[in-house]
Amino acid sequence: MNATLVLAFWRQRLASPIRLVILSLMVLLPPALVSAIRGLSITSLGDAIPLAMVLAVGMIGQDVSSGVLQLILARPVRRSEYVLSRWLAVALGASAVSLLQIGIFWGLSAARGAAPGFDTVAQFALGRELQIFGVAATMAFLSTLIGGVGDLALYALIMILGGIVGMIGQVRHSSVLTWIGQEMGAFVSPKIEVAQLVAGTPSWFTLATYASNLTLALVLAILILNRKELSYASG
């Protein structure tokens, strides 16, 4: 891991006004709405994937398209180090934003006298953290496949295809198609049910699938980047 690359990535992302506006809205609006409606719980804040996406989209592809990657790799930096630093930068950045959003929700709920318990908040926050680290790895892989922000289109394509294949599998009672749909879904929407871990009844397959997808995505991202020939004339 390379701290300089991580910091440079954060600086680059925070220099984008559009990203800052979207992130600010995502951090402030959902907690304000959810805490204002009685009967809604912290889980109504939703998944952390959209938060992670704001930072993750184009995490490597934009560097390839803009020629920045050639400049970075002209220095003695391993390509694997670059990929892992990008992944960590996205995951840590999105984690901080997610925790900030949860903190604001908790503060607003406490002000209304309806703050959720520590266990509830901790489980929700942990589930989101795991989701962020997982989806950041998926996006690192997709971002090595296509330039610019094309990784977002690839992500959407896999998600839609996975949904369609899974639905066909259920309608036709095909366990193979259902399984393919579930695997595609697990790849784009990694998720660990923390409540099941706390209850002592985890699905080991779900845990292994999560960890395996995460590491495979990183390995594939490094392999693909290793095979890329970058030159100033290539783009």
């Binding site: 790799l73 003695p76 099941q196 009844t201 292994a208």
Partner: protein
């Protein structure tokens, strides 16, 4: 620190990551086979009540009743339990919008049913499992969901029915 070239080139793949990824892939296949043969018993996160207690709470709270008619031998019921009732988010939606009551058919195992289960099965003409019946507090027509349409579709149907019932009794507070 020596430059990357001196440490084995800039394109070297971290061995530790390869080993971990390989080990996890093996673990994934092994646990997949294991759990396909013996599906794990996940903790249910929906707070099921008995029919009597559920009816009392529905009357006092004004929330609609959600009857889950199921059976031990029913495969889709187990799948629905695993995917929906053991999922924190879906379970919280159900707990917030309904008074959930589970009614397990024991006809096949014991030759008879609990009188409450039998009476409710007849009242709602239950012919297949799983069947979910949403009974609004104002006594209007119940919503019946027969079979398991998949997690996303089911949660969507339940949320729509729950919100509709809540709006009917005086809006979301």
């Amino acid at each position: 620190m020596p430059p990357a070239e001196a440490r084995g080139g800039t394109r070297r793949l971290p061995r530790w990551l390869l080993i971990i990824a390989g080990a996890l892939l093996v673990a994934r296949i092994a646990t997949g086979i294991q759990e396909h043969r013996n599906p794990p018993q996940l903790a249910e996160l929906v707070r099921w009540e008995t029919s009597a207690a559920g009816l009392a709470r529905a009357q006092s709270s004004g929330l609609p009743l959600l009857y889950d008619f199921s059976a031990e031998w029913c495969g889709p019921c187990r799948l629905m339990q695993r995917e929906v009732f053991a999922d924190r988010r879906s379970a919280e939606t159900i707990n917030a919008l309904f008074v959930p009551v589970r009614l397990v058919d024991t006809q096949r195992e014991t030759g008879r049913n609990d009188p409450d289960v039998q009476m409710l099965q007849q009242r709602y003409h239950i012919e297949a499992f799983p069947t979910l019946v949403i009974v609004p507090p104002d006594g209007s027509e119940p919503t019946v969901i027969e079979g398991y349409p998949g997690k996303a579709r089911l949660v969507e149907q339940l949320t729509a029915a729950g919100v509709k019932a809540r709006l009917q009794r005086g809006g979301i507070r």
